[in-house]
Symmetry: C2
Subunit: 237 residues, 2 copies
């Protein structure tokens, strides 16, 4: 059964790295998983993959999962083939997707996660689970071969969701951006997840985890709350 944890962010408010997420990670990885393969491709831009791994590893050590980054493997595809579970970190979504295509692991990851390999991702690592990365908040600092992504769920997710906009600034609010998204893509659907909130996909259903509700953006500016603790069918979105 498909097991995916899509976290909005690695931090909630002023809490430490993944400090809010212990129960969320355990819920997805379960007792069967002893080691996880870390995919640091969204980072490693202004710091190294080694540094990114060193930042993430203590959290997974504490939770009882040995973590190793894919950049230590000569053959990225073989690493994904042999992984018990994957953990995909945040950073820049365009860079993540571009490097996943360069490593040749997009189709393989899709197959393995569809076949039941647990997947944990936050921020950019949650965005690439969607059909495309067209609901990312990130700057397109590189141009991937396509914006099509893992397509493991049938709707788009917007991580780091925050309502409104800073006073005195004339960029669009997130709500305006997502309303434009749905106006120009009338057959698509979007679930926005505030920082600290996650979606736990199990097979054909998803449960909202965390303190805050998720927000379901529909056509015509209609917005529904998806209450935390609640479960919905992926196809109901």
């Amino acid at each position: 059964m498909k097991q995916i944890l899509m976290m909005s962010s690695s931090r909630k408010g002023t809490q430490g790295f993944l400090a809010h997420a212990d129960d969320q990670v355990h819920a997805v990885l379960s007792d069967r998983v002893k080691s996880v393969l870390f995919i640091p491709y969204a980072g490693g831009i202004t710091f190294s993959y080694d540094e990114y791994e060193a930042r993430v590893k203590p959290t997974f050590d504490r939770l009882g999962y040995a973590l190793e980054s894919i950049h230590h493997h000569k053959d990225a595809r073989a690493a994904v083939e042999q992984a018990q579970a994957v953990v995909v970190g945040g950073g820049n979504t365009f860079v993540l997707l571009d490097r996943m295509y360069n490593a040749g692991i997009v189709g393989l990851l899709r197959e393995r996660v569809n076949a039941g390999m647990p997947y944990v991702g936050w921020s950019a690592g949650a965005n690439v689970v969607c059909p495309t990365i067209r609901t990312t908040n990130d700057m397109p600092i590189v141009e991937p071969p396509t914006l099509k992504a893992l397509n493991l769920i049938p709707f788009q997710v917007n991580p780091h969701f925050i309502s409104g906009k800073p006073a005195g600034h004339n960029g669009e609010s997130r709500e305006e951006r997502l309303a434009e998204y749905l106006a120009i893509n009338p057959d698509e659907r979007v679930v926005a997840i505030p920082e600290g909130t996650a979606l736990h996909v199990q097979g054909e259903n998803a449960t909202v985890l965390g303190e805050f509700d998720a927000v379901h953006f529909k056509q015509g500016g209609v917005v529904d709350k998806l209450a935390t603790g609640g479960t919905f069918a992926l196809t109901s979105i």
Copy 2:
């Protein structure tokens, strides 16, 4: 001589639509221009092209320029060929570029502006002047055939520049995004323009217009002010 006005935004603070920009627009269009062709492609997503035109037209009427939108022309290429000047409005940069490619006007606009047809753009309309749109702040709600844009200047511009990030939110600051941009694109350069500020390109030079300085982001986190009122060579960036 190339004449381009790249405005950060259509509004400055709480001022009305283009209210800050009278002198900036006059400086570029000059007495020779009597009518301008409006390109509304970045908007017209949650409202119509007619509405967008109606919002922009009074400003150009007041300044003495007749404005007509390209969507009234059956042949978009002929409209660009015959235009005295073009005005490219803001909205979503990905949608703007995608629609410009669909209309077949990217190469033609480049030729005409390089040959001296004045170009006025704000926000998305400023972003597409650059080599690519990879320094936009917008959500990639559509996927254009390429992120390569008009390439009328040799560096990237980041409009709506604002320093820092909202308290309690863990997305990247604009400075962090641009530092990542330069880290992964070491041969490129970025000029960020705060709301209310514009670059006036004349031939091979540009002048900073408006109340606030522009900000020149260089490799390694080095940042220089480009003082308002000052002129620099495009190739010095």
